[in-house]
C-alpha cells in the first residue's frame, strides 16, 4: 500500500512540474487575427530511442510561419501554396511555409525540449474550435512518434493514442 501512496506522490510531484507524455502546445488558447507563438513541448523520444527530427505541419489558415532556429539542429522550411489566399494586414498571402523540420538533433528519451514557431492565425479560422498542429518525432532505425490524430466529432481526445497538439481558437480581445 505504501508503494501505491509513494508512487501517487511521485506522480503528483512530477505532474506539478512540466513532465508530459504527449507532445503538446504550451498555450491552451489563442486569438484569431493575431500572431501566435506556438511552443511545442517534446517530452520523450520513441520508446527508449532519442529524437533526431521534429516535424510540424502548419495547418490551413495559419500563415507566415517563422520557426525559431535551435542550436544543434538543422532547420528546414517546406513551402507551398495555401488552399486559398489570406488577408495579412491588407496584403494578400497565398503561399508560405507549410511544414517546419528540425533535424540532425539528438534529444534523449529522458530529456525535454521545446520547439517554437511564430505564426499568424487568420480570421478565417473558426473561433471556439480547436486548431491542430500535427507533429512527428523521428528516431533512429525508422522509429517514430506521431502526434497526428484529430478527434472525430464528439470523441474524447483522451481516447486517442497520438493526439495532435491543439490550441483553442478564441476571439481577439478588443484592446482599444
Amino acid at each position: 500500500m505504501s508503494k501505491s501512496i509513494l508512487s501517487a506522490c511521485a506522480l503528483f510531484l512530477a505532474t506539478a512540474g512540466i513532465a508530459q507524455a504527449h507532445t503538446t502546445l504550451e498555450q491552451a488558447e489563442a486569438p484569431v487575427g493575431a500572431s501566435y507563438k506556438a511552443v511545442f513541448r517534446v517530452p520523450h523520444g520513441c520508446e527508449g530511442k532519442p529524437t533526431n527530427t521534429v516535424r510540424v505541419q502548419i495547418p490551413e489558415g495559419v500563415i507566415t510561419a517563422k520557426p525559431m532556429p535551435k542550436a544543434g539542429w538543422t532547420l528546414e522550411k517546406v513551402t507551398g501554396a495555401y488552399a486559398k489566399s489570406y488577408d495579412y494586414y491588407g496584403r494578400t498571402v497565398s503561399e508560405g511555409v507549410k511544414e517546419v523540420v528540425w533535424s540532425g538533433g539528438n534529444l534523449g528519451d529522458d530529456e525535454y525540449d521545446e520547439f517554437v514557431v511564430r505564426v499568424f492565425l487568420t480570421k478565417d479560422l473558426p473561433v471556439g474550435q480547436m486548431l491542430y498542429f500535427p507533429v512527428v518525432q523521428e528516431c533512429p532505425e525508422g522509429a517514430a512518434e506521431r502526434w497526428i490524430e484529430i478527434p472525430a466529432e464528439g470523441q474524447d481526445p483522451h481516447d486517442l493514442e497520438g493526439p495532435a497538439p491543439a490550441v483553442k481558437l478564441i476571439d481577439k480581445p478588443h484592446a482599444h
Partner: protein, 542 residues
Amino acid sequence: MQPSSMPIEAGRRAGASLLAKAIVVLALLLAGTAGARAHASLASTEPADGAVVATAPSGIALTFSEIVSPLVMRLVTPDGASRDLSDVAYSGNTLRVALPAGLADGTHVFSWRVVSEDGHPVGGSLIFSIGAPSAMPGAPTGAVDWPVRGLVWASKLTLTAAIAFGIGGVFALSWFGTGRQAGRGAAAGFVVAGMIAAVLAVGAQGLDALGEPVTSLLEPTVWRTGLATSFGRTALGLLAASAAAMIALVVPGRTGRAPALIALLGAGAAVAASGHAGSAEPQWLTRPMVALHVATMAAWIGALMPLGLALRAGGETATGLLGRFSRAIPWLLAVLLGSGAVIAFIQVETPAALVTTAYGRVLLVKLALVAALLALAAFNRWRLTPAAARDDAAARRALAGVIVVELMLAVLIFGAVATWRFTPPPRALARAAAEPAWVHLHDPRVMAAVTVNPGVAGPVAVSAALQGGDFGPFAAKAVSLVLSRPDTGIEPIRRDLIPAEDGTWRVGDLVLPLPGRWKLRVDVLVTDFERVRLEGEVELRR
C-alpha cells in the same frame, strides 16, 4: 478527462488496497488540475510480446515511458480462465508483476491496465507461450436440440432400412427369386415406410436447417427449407424409386425385374445426391461410388429376409433362391467393399482421423459391425450353404437363424450410418480448419480486406490488402494492427504489419489464443501527418 470512471474502477477491488487506490486517484485528480495531461506508453516488456519461452517465467516486467500505477493486472491461462495478479513491485518506470507458480504449458495472455499522470487509464496485452503456442477453449457452442436430432436420426435410419429391406427386398425377390415367393408383403411394408420416412425426413431436415424445435414441424417454411436443401433431391428421388419398387411388386413374374433394377439404382443415385459423401470432391468419383455402395448394400441385405423366409419353408423355392444369391454375392460384395473403401479413403484422409474425429470413430464402429456381418456371411457360405442347398432341414433352419442375426447386425449398421449425419468427415473438418477468417473494413479514403489465416484460435498470420476509396491500389507509409477482446478483459494487442511482395501488409508471429469475436483495428498511415483508422470485428473458430 473522465474522473468519474476512476473511483468506480477502484471501488471494484475491495480490501486493503482500496484506500491506497483512492489516494492514488485523488493525487491523480489533483495532478490533472495542474494542467498536465499525458498517457503513458509502454517502452518494453520482459518476456517480449509474442515470446515463446521454454519454462514458465517467474514474473513479467513492464517498462513505461513514465511512472505509472497499476489498476488491473490479469492473466488469462491456456485453459481460458483468468485471474487477477496483485503481487506488483515498482522500480522507477518498471512494474514487476509476479506470476503464480506452476503455470501450464501453452499460450498466456497478460493484460495490464495502468494509470498515468493524467488520470486516464491505458491498457495493453502481452502474449507469451510456455513450450508452444496453444488455443484456449472458447464459449460452448449452441446446445443440441435432441428431439430434432432424434427425428433426423430416426428418419435416416428408417430410410436406410427401407432402401435395404424394401427396395433391396423387391430387387432380390425379382432377380434372385421368381417374384412370387414369401417376403413380398414385408418388402412392400418397408417400401411404404420408406416413403413416409422420406417425407418426414424433409421436415426434420427443415427443422435442423432452421434451428427450430420439433413443435414447429407443421410450419410451411420448415418444409420449404427442408425441400430446398440438397436432401430435397434425395427425398424426391427415393419417392420415385419407391414407386418403381411398388410397380415391380405388382407386375407378374420377370417383368418386375426392370422396374426393380430401376428402383435399386434410383435409390442409390438419390442417396448420392446429398450428404457429405456425395458432396466430396472429386464428385465424378464420389457420387457414382456412393450410388453403387447403396445399391449393392440394398441388393445384399434385401435378399436376407426373402432368403430366411424361403429357407424356413424349404423346398424348391429355397434352393433356387439360395443358388442364385450365392452366385451373385461375390460380385455384389466386391463392388460394395470397393466403393466403400474409395469413399472412406476420400472422407477420412489420414489414418489418425479414424480415432481423433467423431466421423472416424463412427466408421470404426461400422467397420466392426460389417466385419461381424461378413464373418457370419462367410460361415453361411462355406459351412451352411452347401448342406442347405441339398435341402438339409437342419442346415436350412440353422441358416435361417443366422440370417436373423445378420438382419439385426444390418439394422445396427444402419443406426451407425445414420449418426454420420451429425459428424462432419475429417475431409470437411480439415477444410473448415484451414478456412481463413475475413473482414472488410472501409473508410471513404481507404479500404482493407483483412484475412486471419487460419480462422481458428491459436497461432495465426494476418494480412491486410489495401485499396483506395476508388478501388485502386493504395500506397500506405505504414500499417499497424490492434486486436482486443473487451469481453474477456484482453487489452489491445498491437503489431506493426510488414509490406509483402504481393502488395499486402502482413504479420506472421501472432497468437490469438481465444476463439470468438475479436475487435480489430487497422491503422493506415497515409502521409507522415495523416492516419486512417479502420475498425471492425473478426470471428475466430475454436
